[in-house]
């Protein structure tokens, strides 16, 4: 159940809104409604909730048709499988987003902390989430960058948050790093 969350869907939403097809493999709990609120076009989305043991072939097939494939590997990907999928990526025009660990990814995104607003002690409702997202990777992305993001914001979209104007005290935020990898 780990490693997948709204950030993956938000990354898929922008290309989908621009007309790209998006495949989601191995993530039966993907909240399509939340993704649609961020811009994902559900009509151009393919779900393969259970890709099974032959998931590398499934992902390779999806990459033939979809510009973007969001994957949580059902099993740990061996170096050989990773190399073959990366070769598929180089041949085609697709992007593979992996929820989980993927050594050698072009770009990795981490969430250092996240905090929901809008909920009190017995009242209110979840309104927006403020998160500190860190990106690093290889090549051009080698410099580590950190941004505070509203994801989703009050209006349902994604926005950059001003760290001086956060709705909570920075020092109290729990810092539990998580890894996720983006290969493209």
């Amino acid at each position: 159940m780990a490693e997948f969350g709204l950030l993956c869907l938000a990354l898929a939403a922008a290309p989908s809104a621009d007309g790209a097809w998006c495949g989601i493999a191995g993530i039966p709990e993907a909240g399509v409604l939340a993704a649609a609120a961020l811009g994902l076009d559900a009509g151009r989305t393919l779900l393969v909730p259970e890709p099974g043991p032959s998931w590398p072939q499934v992902v390779a097939s999806l990459l033939d048709g979809c510009e973007l494939v969001l994957l949580r590997p059902p099993a740990r990907a061996s170096a050989q499988v990773r190399q073959r999928l990366e070769a598929t990526l180089r041949r085609g025009r697709g992007v593979l987003l992996v929820a989980g660990d993927w050594p050698g990814a072009q770009l990795r995104l981490r969430v250092a902390s996240q905090r929901w607003t809008g909920l009190g002690d017995g009242h209110g409702r979840l309104r927006a989430c403020c998160a500190e997202v860190t990106a690093d990777g290889r090549g051009e992305a080698a410099v580590t960058r950190t941004r505070w993001l509203w994801l989703p914001g009050e209006d349902g979209g994604v926005a950059v948050a001003d760290p001086r104007n956060l709705p909570f005290d920075l020092l109290q935020t729990p810092a539990a790093p998580a890894l996720r990898a983006v290969s493209g």
Binding site: F4, L33, S54, W116
Partner: protein
């Protein structure tokens, strides 16, 4: 001329779906069709056709009847043949295998007892399912002293119509031999499936796919010649060891021969998951192909499924996302590997619960949400939608500061502020914020589908938020709000 098979006739096919009987019925019709192509199937085990032409060809009605009985005997069926002018008289003649000579029908009919009006299936059919009325009529005629059809037919039409109504008038027409409606013959069922046999068995996929392209071309030509198209096409491949792979592919008249061949290729590829090291192109690696196709393929068959009239295809002008060939190809290849239900397209709809608002529909089927959008759906959770909707709700325990389970009363009063959330399989988390309960009572009018539940939103110390539900005193976690799994 009427041919009956009493064995099949007594079995009521519509009430008793016995495949064996239905198959024997089809065999019988096929055998009769061999003598005359235009055959009307009157009832299970009973068929009729115009005898004049075939009788002349086969050398007389008696000779034709003998040939048909012999052909049915070859199938193990005891058949009877009756010949007379008109369907009703011929059906009566077939009961004892009489061949009424031309012009003798009036005499033959006149000698029959009036009870034939009641117990003959044709009477019910022609009198528009007034079987009971026909029985009553026959009994009444006997009580009136009219014992044969000749007696009945001798009555004036006007008197019969005024005394017995429509049913009586219809029966009177039958008795006078005036049932001469033309036979509703069916054209012989065309065998539209195409097959190719491989001798010796073909161990490689490429030649099979190549043959499939030619087969699909033949199939399309045959369908086009009849102005038909098929909704689906079934691809059956038989291996030398007797295994068979059968799969239906959506066709809708849109697939070219090459596209059908592609589907055959995917089906063969997906039949056994390819070994993980087959990154090489096919052809130069014969052993991998041999593993794909155990023992080789002996036969490939394409069967059109659900024939419909070809009316052409018109795409919607607006509001329909076009699925490009490339995407359809990718989706169908995955379907070939994992099955039709494995590739889904989400359709947004309405609903009150987190899981209701998205309907997953197998790729290639009509996309329509289960619950319509655009209705108010009072009671749904407002605000940001959860990024994770668990396919099966996860069991959880929610306790207060003192460690007691938090309960919700029938009037939606919470026993204490929730303080700890323990989702099954995860360590307990401290709750830093909560809201609820939001009650939801669905379908109270239907005891089997009624649900009463109270929803909460919870935020825990690790920055995650949860959508929790209390139902029948149990806590369930339906959805989660977080950007990434923090551990």
């Amino acid at each position: 001329m009427v041919v009956t098979c009493p064995d099949l006739h007594s079995a009521n096919l519509s009430a008793d779906p016995d495949i064996q009987t239905a198959r024997r019925h089809e065999q019988m019709i096929a055998a009769v069709t061999g003598f005359c192509p235009d055959v009307e199937v009157v009832e299970p085990g009973v068929c009729a056709f115009g005898a004049r032409g075939p009788a002349r060809y086969f050398g007389g009605e008696t000779a034709l009847a003998a040939r048909i009985i012999a052909a049915l005997a070859d199938l193990g069926l005891a058949g009877r043949v009756g010949v007379a002018d008109g369907l009703f008289a011929a059906l009566l003649a077939a009961r004892d295998g009489t061949i009424v000579s031309p012009g003798g029908t009036a005499k033959f009919l006149g000698a029959q007892p009036v009870s034939v009006l009641a117990d003959h299936g044709l009477a019910a059919q022609d009198l528009a399912a007034q079987d009971l009325a026909a029985q009553d009529l026959a009994a009444l005629l006997v009580r009136l002293g009219l014992h044969t059809l000749a007696d009945f037919a001798a009555l004036p039409v006007r008197d019969v119509a005024s005394r017995f109504g429509d049913a009586g008038e219809g029966a009177h027409q039958l008795a006078r031999g005036l049932d001469s409606r033309p036979l509703a013959t069916r054209p012989p069922p065309a065998e539209l499936s195409v097959a190719h046999r491989f001798d010796p068995p073909e161990p490689r996929a490429e030649p099979v796919v190549f043959a499939a392209k030619a087969l699909a071309g033949r199939l399309h030509d045959a369908l086009a010649a009849r102005g038909l198209t098929c909704v689906r096409v079934q691809v059956k491949a038989t291996w030398a060891d007797g295994q068979e792979s059968s799969r239906r592919w959506r066709h809708d008249g849109l697939l070219s021969a090459a596209a059908v061949a592609d589907r055959v290729r995917w089906q063969l590829d997906g039949w056994q998951p390819a070994p993980p090291d087959d990154g090489k192109p096919p052809g130069d690696n014969k052993t991998a192909d041999d593993e794909n196709i155990p023992g080789g393929i002996v036969a490939l068959r394409l069967v059109p499924d659900l024939l419909v009239r070809a009316t052409g295809q018109q795409l919607a002008l607006w509001g329909e996302t076009l699925v490009s060939d490339q995407v359809a190809r990718a989706a169908m290849r995955v379907q070939a590997m994992l099955g039709h239900e494995a590739v889904l397209r989400p359709v947004l709809g309405g609903g009150r619960n987190a899981g209701d608002q998205v309907t997953p529909i197998p790729f290639g089927e009509k996309t329509e949400p289960r619950l319509p959008a655009g209705r108010p759906w009072p009671g749904r959770v407002r605000g940001a939608a959860p990024g994770l909707v668990f396919p099966a709700a996860r069991e959880a325990e929610v306790t207060d500061d003192a460690g007691r389970a938090v309960t919700v009363s029938g009037r939606c009063a919470v026993s204490a502020a929730p303080a700890r959330l323990a989702v099954r399989g995860d360590p307990p988390r401290r709750i830093t914020g909560w809201a609820g309960p939001w009650p939801l009572s669905e379908r109270w009018w239907d005891p089997s589908a009624a649900r009463r539940r109270a929803r909460f939103q919870l935020v825990t110390e690790d920055g995650r938020a949860w959508l929790a539900v209390v139902e029948d005193g149990r806590w369930l976690v339906e959805a989660g709000y977080w950007l990434i799994g923090l551990g």
